[in-house]
Amino acid sequence: MLNLIRCEFFKLRRKSLLRGLLGLSALLPLLLVLYELPNQRGMTGLTEAYKAGRFDYYCQCLCVYAFVLLMPCLVGVLSCFLFFMERDNDTFKNLRTVPVSAGQLVLAKVMTMLLLELLFSTLIFGFLALFFSLFGIGALTHGLSMFLMFQVCGLLLFAVSLPVVVLVVLFNGSTLISLLLSFFCSILGWASILFLSQLAAGNPRWKLLFPLHPTLCTMQWSSWFFSNLADRTQMMQMDLFLPGTGHTLLLDAGVAAVSLALVLHYYKRWTR
């Protein structure tokens, strides 16, 4: 399996994928810096605690909100790169006679996507930390736990975004169509959260659906899990929806497992 994953990376040579990831992961933190800089202009004697708070706040924003929007797009782009390669270049026959099975290939591709996702969240965190400390507008007091949050959130939201791969493989269309599809999924994910919250505001019975929404659960759980004690007390008072760790992990793992099974099912149909 390791060998197969190595080969997936090998196949990405001379593709602009890694450069694109690097650019995107630098861009987001840069925008946040440009947003925060004017806020702090003229303020003097800022404490380390304040700076740490700002850094943590932006970490939370990126991780929880930006990732919810970004991850389906990222997964869509990655699956276009990885899953269409064999189809477009007619290399199935050479792989299948090695022999590499469709199952092995799908697993290798999803693992490669996961590794690229982890790279992406590491890069974003790295750039955020770099820029905030360069401009002196943030402190990495809770750096380690923030880094952990990036990885855990990234991983969970990646799992929750795997249905995008199912759609990409199912529709088996051009890259453009698939990208539009994943963009649409990302918007739909957000919209469904907003819509559900609206409904729940009108009629609390809709809250019963909250625990079934994987993205919503992941968002709420991670903002709870990675917040400090003071914030937690506040959250409790606000009577927010706070799913348990086991519940969230199980739900996300379930989504990932079902998606993988469907991807394999539809991918096998291509290779006939």
Partner: protein, 307 residues
Amino acid sequence: MKDCIIETKNLTKLYGTQRSVAGVNLHVRKGRIYGLLGRNGAGKTTTMRMLLGLTQPTAGEITLFGRPLQGNEKKILPRVGSLIESPGFYPNLTGTENLQLFAMLRGIPNENAVRSALELVGLPYRDKKLFSQYSLGMKQRLAIALAVMHEPELLILDEPINGLDPIGIAEIRSFIRSLCEERGKTILISSHILSEIALLADDIGILDHGVLLEEEPLAELEARNGRYIHLGVSDAARAARLLETRMGLTAFRVEGDRDIRVTDPEIPPETLARTLLEGGVELRELHLCEDTLEDYFKRVTGGEGIA
């Protein structure tokens, strides 16, 4: 047969209701070159895809190296090298990188395998040129290199000379011959070009509309079908009666009003001539003729010829 590397029983593939391959019993013997000949759409590629487990047969059995293919793919396929239809490689990699990739997948540790495979087909090692910039002939050569890189015992090559120039064709032909003769490899090769098969194959199978019409050694086929005596006579019907009654001959065919083909070339021509003249039939001409493989192909497929 004991020494068959490839054996199929009643191999059949349906696409919808169309029978692309129908009840094929193929026997490819060890250490020989088997030429599968057939027009476009005859079912050559479909047969080979089934032999490699790329397409599931609708019915029938496939035995490779004496074992059923189904369920033994992991053991059997590493012993097979193949080229199916057009070469399929990653366009963003160079030729060398493409081979390195598959060497990695096949678990071939030494870099020399890639280098020598490239040298064998006449492509440069560690060239900067990407696969997408290759010419059709170079792509085909790379595909052949991929097929032989892991030293397989059996090669399945689907129209391997497609897209090559005449010199390239000759090179690849002698390369394939040497693989068989010097390294003892068994080779199944398909082509729609009859002369190519005639030059290369030891055994020949003729596939037409999914049916394997004939299967036999090329030498035997040439000996049996190759030579005949052509008689030009004034009255073919009468001549036929004479041959039958006076000579007891049955190995002949009447072709039109004035021509007869005697399919046994060993009959002495003077006997034939005497019999006819004594019976009062005028003999216009008498030739010892050699049937071309193309005539033969026309005859067995019952249709037009092949290039």
